[in-house]
C-alpha cells in the first residue's frame, strides 16, 4: 500500500525535482497554496504558438506534491493547450476517480505512478496542487490557486 503511494519514480522526483527553478520574466505564472497543510508552489509557463515551450516551478511541500509538480513539468513541455487540458482532466480522474475510469484514461504515460494516491484521500490535494496552479497560470488568474 505504502509502496503504491511512494513509488520509486515519485521518490526520485522528490529527491531531485526537475525544472525546479524560477523562470525569469515568465509570461505566465501563478502561486498555489494548500491552506490545509501549508504547501506552496509557484508555476511558471512560457507558450509559443499555443505550445508549452518551457515550464518550471518552485515551492515547498511533501514528497507527493513536489514529485507531482516535477513530473507535471516534464510531461507538459512540448504539449499544445488542448493536450494540456486533456492531461489535467486525465490526471484528476487518475487520482480521484474510479479505478475503471482511471484505467480508461489515454496517454497518461508516466503520470500513472500517481495511481496509488487514490487510496490515500488525504493526499489527493498534494498531488493536484501543482496542476491547479498550472491552470491558473495559463489563464493568467490573479490571486492564489487552491485545490478547493
Amino acid at each position: 500500500m505504502l509502496e503504491d503511494l511512494y513509488q520509486q519514480v515519485i521518490l526520485d522526483h522528490n529527491r531531485a525535482p526537475r525544472n525546479f527553478r524560477k523562470m525569469e520574466r515568465a509570461p505566465h505564472h501563478a502561486e498555489g497554496y494548500n491552506p490545509l497543510c501549508g504547501d506552496r508552489v509557484t508555476v511558471y509557463v512560457r507558450l509559443a504558438d499555443d505550445t508549452v515551450t518551457d515550464i518550471t516551478f518552485e515551492g515547498s511541500g511533501c514528497a507527493i506534491s513536489k514529485a507531482s509538480a516535477s513530473l507535471m513539468t516534464e510531461v507538459l513541455k512540448g504539449k499544445r493547450r488542448s493536450e494540456v487540458d486533456a492531461l489535467f482532466e486525465g490526471f484528476h480522474t487518475l487520482v480521484t476517480g474510479r479505478e475503471a475510469a482511471a484505467a480508461a484514461e489515454p496517454d497518461l504515460g508516466k503520470l500513472r505512478v500517481f495511481a496509488g494516491v487514490r487510496e490515500f484521500p488525504m493526499r489527493v490535494k498534494c498531488a493536484t496542487l501543482a496542476w491547479h496552479t498550472m491552470r491558473a497560470a495559463l489563464e493568467d488568474r490573479a490571486g492564489v490557486a487552491t485545490t478547493e
Partner: protein, 417 residues
Amino acid sequence: MTGQPRQAERASVFDVETVRRDFPILHQTVHGKPLIYLDNAATTQKPRAVIDAVANYYARDNSNVHRGLHELSARATEAYEDGRRTMQRFLNAASAREIVFVRGTTEAINLVAGTWGRRNVGPGDEILITAMEHHSNIVPWQLLCEEKEAHLRVAPIDDAGALRLDVLESMIGPRTRMISLVHQSNSLGTINPVAEVVAMAHARGVPVLLDGAQAAAHGPIDVQALGCDFYALSGHKMYGPTGIGVLYGKLAHLEAMPPYQGGGEMISSVTFEKTTYNKVPHKFEAGTPDIGGVVGLAAAVKYVDALGRDACSAHEDELLQHATERLSRIDGLTLVGTAVPKASVVSFVLEGIHPHDIGTILDQDGIAIRAGHHCTQPLMDRLGLPATARASFAVYNTHDEIDALAAGIERVAAVLS
C-alpha cells in the same frame, strides 16, 4: 483524614493497562496494526464513563432546562447545573456563576473579544498576545482591533519556544487593554509562567485571559491562585465530548459585560420595547445549551479525579521524558520546542522529509500523529518551518507506544530513500 491516604494509595497504583481498558476506541487495529493514538493535543479519546454518562442522559433524563415544570426537566436542569458546580470545583472558581458554558475555547475567546472587548477597547488601544498563540487566540482579537482601530501586539519567544517574559513586561503600556495568552502551547508544549504574567498585568491594571485548551487536560487549574480574569477551555481535549467548553470569568467582569448572543434563556423579560437580561451566567447562554455535553464533561472531570490528577500528570511527564530521550537519538531528527517547563507534546522535523510524509507513513503502522501548522501559522513562520510532526500524549499512552513511534520514524527515512 480519610480522603488523603486513599488518594495517595490510588496514585501509587496508577496502572496504564487498567486505564486503557476504560477507553473502548483504543482496542482496534488500523491498517492491520494496533492503534497507537498520539494526537491527543488535537482531541483526547473518551472513557466509557463519559460515553455512558451521555448515553444515559439521553436514555433517561433528556429534557430542556430551566423552564419545564415536569420531572424530566427538573432532572435535566439538575444535571446541567451540577455540571456547572463540577467545573467550578475543577477550576476552583469562587462561584458557580463564574462558569459560562460555551462550545469550546474558540467560542470562549470570541465571547470575551466580542463583549468585553467591544465595550472596553477603543481607537489606539492595544491587545497583547504572544508569538505562540493558536489561531483561536489571534483572529478574534484581530477582528476586534480592525473594528475598533486598535492594535494587536505580539510578545516574542526565544528559539527554544519559551516566552520572553522580560519583553512581554516591557510591552505592557498605558494603552494595553488586555493580555491574552496560552497556558500551554499546543505546538510546542511550552508551559507559560502565567501567574507571573497575571501579576505583571495586574500591577498595571490590565486584565488577563488564559487559553487553557491544552493545560486543562493536565489540570488541576486554580483560577484564584493564578489570579486570571478569564480562563477558556474545551471539553474534548480533556476526555469530554466535542462541542462543549467553559469560559470562566471573574463575576465583576461578567456582570459588567453586555450579552453575547440574544435569544431564549438569556432574558428575564421581553417586550418589543425593551428586554431585560437574565443574570450571569445565563445572560451568556442564549438558546438551549448542550446539556448532554455538560453531563459528559462533568463525567470526564470526575473520571480523571478518580484516577488521581497528580498520578496522571506524573505518568504523562514520564512519557514526555522517555519520548524526548528516545526521539533525540534518531538521525536527522530535530525537536521543535524544548522550553522548560513543557508538557506532553513532542514536535519534531526530519531533515529533508516533509511532516506530511511522516504522518502518512506512520499511519500505515497504525500510529496517529499530527502533521501541519497546528493552527499556529505565525509561530511556524517565527520558527522558519512550514510545518512540524507532532506526537502528543495522554493518560492511556505507554512506553511501548513511544518505542513503536520511534521505530516508525526510523522507518520513514528508509521508505523515502
